[in-house]
Amino acid sequence: MKRFPLHIALGFWAIVTAFPLLWAVTSSVKSDTEILSSPWTVPERPRWENFGRAWNEASIGQYFLNSVIVVGGALFLTMLLGGIAAYTLARYRFPGNRFVYYLFVTSQFFPTFLALVPLFFTVEQMGLLGTKLGLILVYATFATPFTIFFLHAFFRTLPSAIAEAAFIDGCTHWGVFFRVMLPMARPGLVSVAIFNFLGLWNQYLLPLVLNPDPENYVLAQGLAALSTSQGYQSDWSGLFAGLTIAMLPVLLAYVCFQRYIQAGATAGAVK
């Protein structure tokens, strides 16, 4: 009984956190009239058709697919390029090693806003404005410094005996990386991949500037555009359904893999 006030405090914040999410999910199966007249009661009957409307007519399905392609491509690219660069910087001695490492790592200090204008023109001049390839390249490049920073420390802690043995057995440098070091680095790779996934899925500023074509909108961008565009304001239930489509898969994945995901998400702040 003594713990009761404590559970009130914790329970209060749990409600503050979860209630808006539940409210959005509930609203997604209501009719527009119900949303307008009684914003926080349960619907008379669930209207699943809202989801179909959001997915097709409001193009949420297209945006979702775009996000998956862009984030997936960028994640693969940053893990590959960042991973191999981190490995090289961590375990090979060559002139300029430190310089290259700091060239990558210090860029994390700079706010993205500072690069925004020249970045826009760079991407435009390369003919990549509004293309998925352009977005993938920029996403991957912006995620790489942290990937290198994190995996650099990780590769240093790995024992070198196995790599040495592989070299003696005639393995090439590439072979040692892909067959020996990469598998050994799996825990670090998983953490940084989760961290990068969340960061890239979260992107809003970069696609807003570099991806102006509505057909190519990523999910966050498309949803924001829908909610601010006057034309769609009347379809509240469709918007809530779109919001739910954007939220639920990520939340469900989180509940299933929460330990990994918490570890990955906090990778930037705890070592």
């Binding site: 713990r3 503050v16 040495e164 966050a220 918007l239 939340l251 702040a269």
Partner: protein, 324 residues
């Protein structure tokens, strides 16, 4: 993202390769070049070059026409000092910086302490700790644009969640147009930032408290220390570094705030510039007005603001070997 490069670097000393291996590795220059080149080329094109150009552009009056950038020295910066909307933006970012990190860290620390030390007799974690942690972390899983859309709805004066709840519990008088009143709008945005940030820092602090040796808390308990004293004299000093890191990260968020303001607020940035932030000014100046030189000057100002904040927040930590 991380600003902790140097100290961590020093802590994780490299294992020197064995002589035989070193000989072999030194011969791998071809591999080194092949392995670094792709990442390095992309880095130079999309990061180093844009940042370098931004500093130059901030000294020009460029408006997007190729070859027509006139060097104007520090004129853009002089104009910024008299740009009342940009000064509003600085003021709003500073207000966010002053209040938001402190509130987020305060609530996060409180919840983490409750979860870790709140069990019966103050020794162990509270019942259901895992459940609370999972729920508190939810907002961290949502992208900031989605959070903004969600809260834009929740703040809707007619059919939003907040006013709906207030009316349902009979507090009709407190219902407001949260994002339309100049005195309230920025605080409404700030509340969303706190809402979405607390869970992450709670988990971070919770892990840090968990890592403190239990004997220390035992000893304090035996010496008759109350919960509050234990927190102030033991937990807080031992979490100093974590709190500092949290403060730096949250400060960066407070100096940004772009996505929330751009999606949620009227205008955006309104009403009456009351939610204007530096990033929004920059975005509008560049991509709506086409004043790219002037916008770059805003970017440079934002950069130096962030830099000064990070240096101030991390001061006094020079002699420490480990930060996080």
């Amino acid at each position: 993202m991380s600003v902790l490069t140097r100290p961590v670097e020093r802590a994780a000393a490299p294992a020197p390769p064995a002589p035989s291996q070193r000989r072999r590795l030194n011969r791998g220059y071809g591999f080194v070049i092949g392995a670094l080149a792709p990442a390095l080329v992309l880095h130079l094109i999309f990061i180093v070059s844009p940042y370098a150009q931004a500093f130059y552009l901030s000294l020009t009056d460029w408006n997007g026409v190729a070859g027509k950038a006139n060097f104007v020295g520090f004129d853009n910066f002089a104009r910024l000092a008299g740009d009342s909307l940009f000064l509003d933006a600085i003021k709003n970012n500073l207000l966010l910086l002053l209040l938001m990190p402190a509130a987020t860290i305060g609530i996060g620390l409180f919840l983490a302490t409750m979860i870790q030390r709140g069990g019966a007799n103050g020794r162990s974690g509270v019942k259901g700790a895992r459940f609370y942690e999972i729920v508190f972390f939810f907002p961290q899983m949502l992208s900031v644009a989605i959070v903004a859309v969600l809260w834009g709805f929740a703040y809707n004066p007619n059919n939003g969640l907040i006013n709906g709840v207030l009316r349902a519990i009979g507090l009709d008088g407190l219902a407001r147009s949260w994002l339309a009143e100049p005195g309230l709008a920025l605080f409404a945005v700030m509340a969303v930032m706190i809402w979405s940030g607390v869970g992450f820092y709670m988990v971070l602090f919770s892990a840090a408290i968990d890592a403190i040796p239990k004997e220390i808390f035992e000893a304090a308990l035996i010496d008759g220390s109350t919960g509050w004293t234990t927190f102030r004299r033991i937990t807080l000093p031992l979490l100093r570094d974590n709190v500092q890191v949290a403060f730096v990260y949250l400060g960066m968020v407070a100096l940004d705030a772009f996505a929330l303001v751009q999606i949620m607020t009227v205008g955006p940035g309104g009403p009456d510039g009351s939610t204007e932030v530096m990033g929004l000014s920059l975005y509008r100046t560049a991509f709506e007005y086409g004043k790219f030189g002037y916008a770059s000057a805003m970017g440079v100002a934002l950069f130096f603001g962030t830099l000064v904040f990070a240096l101030v927040a991390l001061r006094g930590n020079k002699n420490r070997t480990e930060l996080a």
